[in-house]
Amino acid sequence: MIIQNKELKKNITGYLFIAPNLIGFMVLTFIPVLFSLVVSFTEWNLFTGTENIRFVGLKNYLYMFSDVWFIDSLKNNLMYTVVTISLALSISLFIAIILNDKVYGRNIIRAMFFMPYISNIVAISAIWLALYNPNYGPLNQFLMSIGIDNPPQWLASSKWALPAIMIMSIWGGLGYNVVVYLAGLKGIPKELYEAADIDGANSWHKLRHVTIPMLSPTIFFLLITGIISSFQVFGQINIMTQGGPARATTVIAYYIYLSGFRYYKMGYAAAMAWFLFIGIFIVTLIQWRGQKKWVNYI
């Protein structure tokens, strides 16, 4: 009895200690998320209050697949994710490996790569907006000066708008990836390279059979977090293109925002948010399963 009482007291003290955070999480995150699940089965205009909520069953979920905006948003988003993640991960690995060697002014270069990551996305977008100007932007001026007569119209072209945004996003994310990679590289024991040298491995072999396997937990981490955040891309789209020209750069997070706050369709927006959540969840689950095949924890 006395022991039980002690246990109980201990538990209560423990709960009280996490209570401030737990209550905050419950009130500000968990309950709203649950509420959004309920809303996703309704038609609801936020303005008219909860009394005017109307249940419509699965209608919102079914409508998604006949909605050109949603379909294009999904397509664009998938394209964005595949291209930016694969390019960003490989380019930053390359940069990290170079920086890991004794390079002159390494700290400055590392800081330079990290700059965009800590800069405000609004400021970055505004600058790239000017860079991408089809006629007078520095980028196209440069392309024309090296003999390309019809440089891409970038944001003013359905074909090039999404690639333009991808390029900017890759550049913006490099610094973070590089820093995480560098930390991973530091953790690889020197002995492994020495052993490889003795076995007569060249640098490609060392990269392929030592560096990448030893770095696989880092790559896995960057892959998962990168994919999740790439499905939430919003800032650059909202500032640079608003989903245009036509529907060339619309992405899911942007369309959710439009539906909820421009067309007042809270139910539909919530349904798309849940679709996005389930989609990311499945993708992450698959990766989690797949990691057994290629990620090495020492």
Partner: protein, 458 residues
């Protein structure tokens, strides 16, 4: 000792939690009170009388920068009405700014009155329940007496808004460009003449092309009656009407055959859709279909220093001597938030803005008041500013912009209007970027608009 410490920490945590909970419940009470006064609606006047010492605070959202007149208007009102203090908040009247207003309305922020600048936006807000039906405040008589009935937008026969300005469309012209080319500024011209002149005015100035025109007039709007998007009271879209094709073909041909209009890619890249004044004032174009609100930028010589005179011509028409609609409209509709706690006071303020307020203080924002009693001389003087003779052709302005014979259309059918507006925007993007042909454009717009109408009817 240890035990005491433990208890102390427990008490501390509990008290923190309690205050947090208490604070939450307190705000809940507040909102309850608010909703209860809301449900009382017009009767809430009694309650306010008892608390007379506390002035009521109204918040009004509009698209005109505060320093261009609204602040003075509000200051004048506040001085005359110490018990009703108004605060003006500016939102930028583009897509993002309008969404900001919508979000604030949705979130229940205090906004008592707000402005809408397009029929689709207005419709959306009315249908979303964000606008008060003004019938019970005597709006019908007010509008009839002070503004007139022509061109006044009604939603299903009811007034949810008061138009406060007239925004006629006309051609705004850089006079020196015409003089250089030896062309006289027309007082009447056809579309074909406009096209020829635009070609002649396009030339290379200091290594940069100065285009003849920024854009082309919307022929369909000039030719067709009210509700030009729809057939049969809104059961079908009207985009297969030949005038729509004429409209886009004109702009398209001028852009890609004549190379005489400003490139659309540049419009997108520089986000000029809502505020294109830079292009005209930096002499990147010689003329622009425009409305008086833009004159506040012409007047702003600190930000846009220029030496030449801005003059005006009526819009070019398909055939001379015939009557056409102006593509502008009555505009700047002030609306009341249906959740305002101070409806009667808001209504009083709306009336003031729509009459003397706008006619006195908003002229320098380039707003021609919709108020019947506004004196055209005062209006011209107010809009063109102190430097009028140096910057403008005053006579041309009076003749073109203050023409009492301007006819406006007013759309009464609004089925799926926000959706159709979005469809037009997308398809026009593709057309003017040369990613589809004019025929494909017409076909797509017609098909998609019909679908949107069908969905809205369900």
């Amino acid at each position: 000792m240890k035990k005491i410490l433990k208890w102390l920490s427990l008490i501390l945590i509990l008290s923190v939690l309690l205050t947090a909970v208490f604070a939450c419940s307190k705000t809940d009470n507040n909102t309850d009170e608010q909703t209860s006064t809301q449900s009382e609606g017009g009767d809430s006047g009694n309650e306010q009388e008892s608390s007379k010492k506390e002035p009521i605070k109204l918040i009004v959202w509009g698209g005109v920068p505060a320093e261009n007149g609204p602040q003075e208007l509000v200051d004048a009102w506040n001085k005359a009405h110490p018990d009703i203090q108004v605060e003006y908040v500016r939102f930028v009247n583009d897509d993002t700014g309008n969404t900001k207003l919508d979000t604030a309305l949705l979130a229940g922020e205090q906004i008592d009155a707000y402005f809408s600048y397009s029929v689709p936006n207005m419709t959306k807000r009315i249908e979303g329940g964000m606008a008060e039906d003004l019938s019970s405040y005597g709006v019908d008589d007010f509008v009839k007496d002070n503004i007139g009935e022509e061109g006044v937008f009604k939603y299903k026969g009811k007034l949810f808004s008061i138009p406060t300005t007239k925004e006629p469309a006309y051609m705004m012209i850089n006079k020196s460009a015409f003089e250089e080319a030896g062309i006289e500024v027309p007082t009447e011209w056809t579309i074909d003449e406009f096209r020829e002149i635009a070609k002649k005015l396009t030339k290379n100035v200091n290594g940069k092309i100065r285009y003849g025109a920024y854009n082309a007039p919307d022929v369909a709007r000039m030719v067709l009656e009210d509700n030009y998007w729809y057939k049969n009271e809104g059961s079908e879209s009207n985009f297969d009407d030949p005038s729509f094709k004429l409209s886009v073909q004109l702009y398209y041909d001028m852009m890609y055959t004549d190379n005489s209009t400003f490139p659309y890619s540049e419009v997108l890249a520089r986000k000029l859709q809502a505020y294109p004044q830079d292009v005209f004032l930096n002499q990147e174009v010689a003329m622009m279909v425009s409305s008086p609100w833009m004159l506040r930028y012409v007047n702003n010589t600190a930000e846009y220093p220029h030496e030449w005179i801005t003059t005006f011509a009526p819009l070019p028409v398909p055939e001379k001597g015939k009557d056409y609609y102006n593509t502008g409209s009555l505009n700047n509709w002030i609306m009341m938030n249906s959740k305002s706690q101070y409806k009667q006071e808001t209504w009083e303020f709306m009336k003031y803005w729509a009459t003397e307020g706008a006619a006195t203080y908003l002229l320098k924002a380039g707003k021609i008041p919709a108020w019947k009693n506004a004196d055209p001389e005062v209006v011209a003087k107010g809009i063109l500013g102190d430097n009028a003779e140096k910057l403008f052709d005053v006579d041309a302005f009076k003749r073109v912009a203050l023409d009492p014979n301007i006819k406006y259309v007013v759309d009464t059918v609004t089925v799926a209007a926000p959706e159709i507006q979005q469809i037009l925007k997308e398809e026009l993007d593709k057309l003017y970027l040369k990613e589809q042909t004019v025929d494909q454009y017409i076909e797509n717009v017609k098909k998609r608009a019909d679908e949107a109408i069908k969905n809205a009817a369900q």
